[in-house]
Symmetry: C2
Subunit: 438 residues, 2 copies
């Protein structure tokens, strides 16, 4: 039986998952592929380190050159993080005529175009299903299954760590910091949680999804993103009281003037399909002009789910190795549609204003009128003779307008706190009226 | 720009959807494919009939031979129903070296193996994404995205008509016959509803899913199926009271001795991911040993959603036409695993027994003990001095055992009615205990 050699870069969670996947499903893979996949080298930083899987010591190397130079390695699998040296290794492998499979969202988001061009030049494959949504098939469905659709919108919960934290905040009523700490203790958040909690991870993934969904090159710098640090317990409670949940949503939408592409905490109505996606699960909602709304949910992270996607990509390129076919065109961009600047993104908002005294409510309302913010009061809670809270849902506003108004509200004497959050999943006027009773 | 010719068989809901899809998304398709898709002939029975779309009269033909003989037609799209003459047309097109794309679940379920063998012989493509789940990508994800997984289980709601009827029965408390009639008036059910209501449609789709998920040939006759006609209003009400919904579930599971593959109405706990799939929507839950549980939901029928899948398949084979590559191996079967006989399928059951008098309850319990049916009483409703209802959830039973016991229960004097329904989505003992309080 023909053998296909793999060079694996990295032996952390994903790399170990790939080793386990190829070994425990060896029989199925061999049956389907009619060939054997063999890991011939594994690049690690420290060969002496303890690993989650057992591998023969002589497979390990600290020198990428050994992988690049090995003609028996036809497929290189990038299971590292970060862009440096991942980008150089990927480019070097492609230049040697090797196929590359990666789970590395950052390198695809930042250097995908360059890498795809290099792959096309050499007729090799570059696959990155595992870079978004872990084990959830989404890259291939977007590229192939929705090839004939005009995608109108992508809405996703694509970071498991923040979804876990927000789910726990909602169900247990705890504050962000405490919940983060618990997530770290359970291994759901990294010791340095910046990448997840500040929205970088979701933004990398969204850049990839946006480019594929709309067939246009997207620069990572064009994605506006915000994490979940500022989500207050009060906002969680108000959302729940009003029939909403707060999720970190990644959104990409086609507008006439350009594309919206942003990651932001949002209120979603409880009936929204993504509102039911809890804990570490991911969910991606894609709206095509033919297919309608499609929802994909599953485990968006973890060694084995990610390895499921990596191994499927390996099998796809292995098929090319076996048939000797070139990998074919890999870049799906066919037009240039700009991403709208952050300030021009339009949407509804949830606005919570905490005032020290009841008489601050009047200037708040006046300022909203003066700034021409269509805002429906949806809740109000005041203690007799003391301050309280006003909650509004706004009509569609440009993000710039909304944040300027929020800043001005914050400067009104007697206003203690202003919280402004996006309100998603209420596209139709009818739904809006039903939700607010207006 | 290169042109690729299409011969379309049928101009009903799906055929018209394909015409609309290719025309309204012409620009996107051209951009991505770098070629033009052109419908060159449409096979219809009656060229004079009014159609949902406008097409040039000279495209219409009643003679398949005109399509088969036209060398400018490289792709044949089967948008007909039934197996005769669809099967012959497909085989003839493949023999002429044409690629075939179909939305016809019956022909794939019954003759898929024969057709795939013919396609492999001629190096042409045979694609059938649209045959299951309408616009929901599921064939390609199973074949490609989960290629490296061992699939353990597929659970689906894959018939929109029955899901619509069951959803309405649940939300409006109406009887089956009345709800069916309303669905027919709204166009959600056919004038002759047999194909949907008796489970044929779901069984065709399940045969296809099972073969792909488990990499083994599946004969349509091996699928056991049952429709929703016998679902009583009382069962709907009891399910709801106990925290469950009744859905027509298509299931395929790997067991040591063989595969389970059946379509049956089932009680699902409200928390089950498929319990939220309502109205005409479809949902397919796939459990892979690497990916974990994946759920795909969307519109499982209708002209445009189905056309989304057809058009994506057309683009995939068009790519082969453009590059001159052979379509590659199309059959994904790599082993022979038998489908278990209906009677040997094991699962839990909901059992409702209506008795005329309270003193019939004792012989019911005695019979369950005598037949060694582990059955937990979960609800009971009796009118003072009159008859009433006993509801049980059973421990896992073979289907044969369960139906024999139900038949015996029905013969007990004083027993008025026995209803036996599968109970799905409670795999773990812990979940079972939580659900029943035992």
């Amino acid at each position: 039986m023909q053998k296909i050699g793999i060079g694996l870069l990295g032996l952390g969670t994903v790399g170990s998952g790939v080793v386990t996947a190829l070994s425990c499903n060896r029989q199925e893979i061999r049956g389907k592929l009619k060939a054997e996949l063999e890991i011939r080298r594994i690049l690690v930083r420290d060969p002496g380190k303890a690993r989650p899987v057992e591998v023969a010591r002589d497979l390990l190397t600290t020198d990428f050159g050994q992988i690049a130079a090995d003609p028996s390695i036809q497929i290189v699998v990038d299971a590292m993080g970060g862009t440096d040296p991942a980008r150089q290794y990927i480019l070097a492998a492609l230049a040697k005529g090797k196929h590359v499979v990666t789970a590395n969202k950052e390198v695809v988001a930042k250097y995908g175009r360059e890498i795809l061009a290099e792959a096309e030049k050499h007729g090799t494959g570059f696959c990155f299903e595992a870079s978004v949504g872990g084990g959830i098939p989404v890259i291939r469905p977007l590229k192939e299954s929705l090839a004939a659709d005009k995608v109108e919108e992508v809405l996703g919960i694509i970071n498991g760590t923040t979804n876990y934290i927000l789910s726990k905040m909602a169900s247990e009523g705890k504050e962000f910091n405490l919940t983060l700490q618990e997530a770290q203790e359970k291994g759901y958040a990294e010791p340095d949680p910046t990448n997840d909690v500040e929205g970088f991870d979701a933004a990398y993934k969204l850049a990839i999804l946006t480019a594929l969904a709309f067939g246009t090159p997207v620069k990572f710098e064009d994605i506006s993103f915000e994490g979940i640090r500022r989500i207050a317990r009060e906002d969680m409670a108000w959302a729940s009281e009003l029939g909403y949940v707060i999720k970190l949503v990644a959104a990409a939408k086609e507008r006439e003037s350009g594309l919206e592409a942003w990651v932001s905490p949002c209120l979603l109505p409880l009936e929204h399909p993504l509102a039911q996606v809890n804990d570490v699960f991911n969910g991606i909602l894609i709206k095509g002009n033919l297919a309608g709304e499609l929802l994909f949910t599953g485990r968006g992270a973890g060694g084995l789910p990610t390895a499921s996607a990596v191994a499927a990509d390996i099998m796809a390129v292995a098929q090319k190795v076996l048939t000797g076919q070139a990998a074919g065109p890999v870049c799906t961009c066919y037009r240039a549609k700009p991403v709208l600047p952050k300030e021009e993104v339009t949407g509804r908002y949830y606005l919570r204003v905490k005032v020290k005294k009841g008489d601050a409510a009047l200037p708040v309302n006046n300022l909203l009128i003066q700034e021409r913010i269509g805002a429906l009061p949806v809740a109000k809670k005041f203690q007799q003779g003391k301050g309280g809270t006003l909650v509004y849902f706004t009509q569609p506003l440009q993000a710039g307008t909304a944040s300027r108004a929020a800043a001005k509200l914050g400067m009104i004497p007697g206003v203690q706190e202003v919280s402004l959050l996006r309100l998603e999943g209420l596209p139709a006027a009818a739904a809006w009226a039903a939700a607010t009773g207006k």
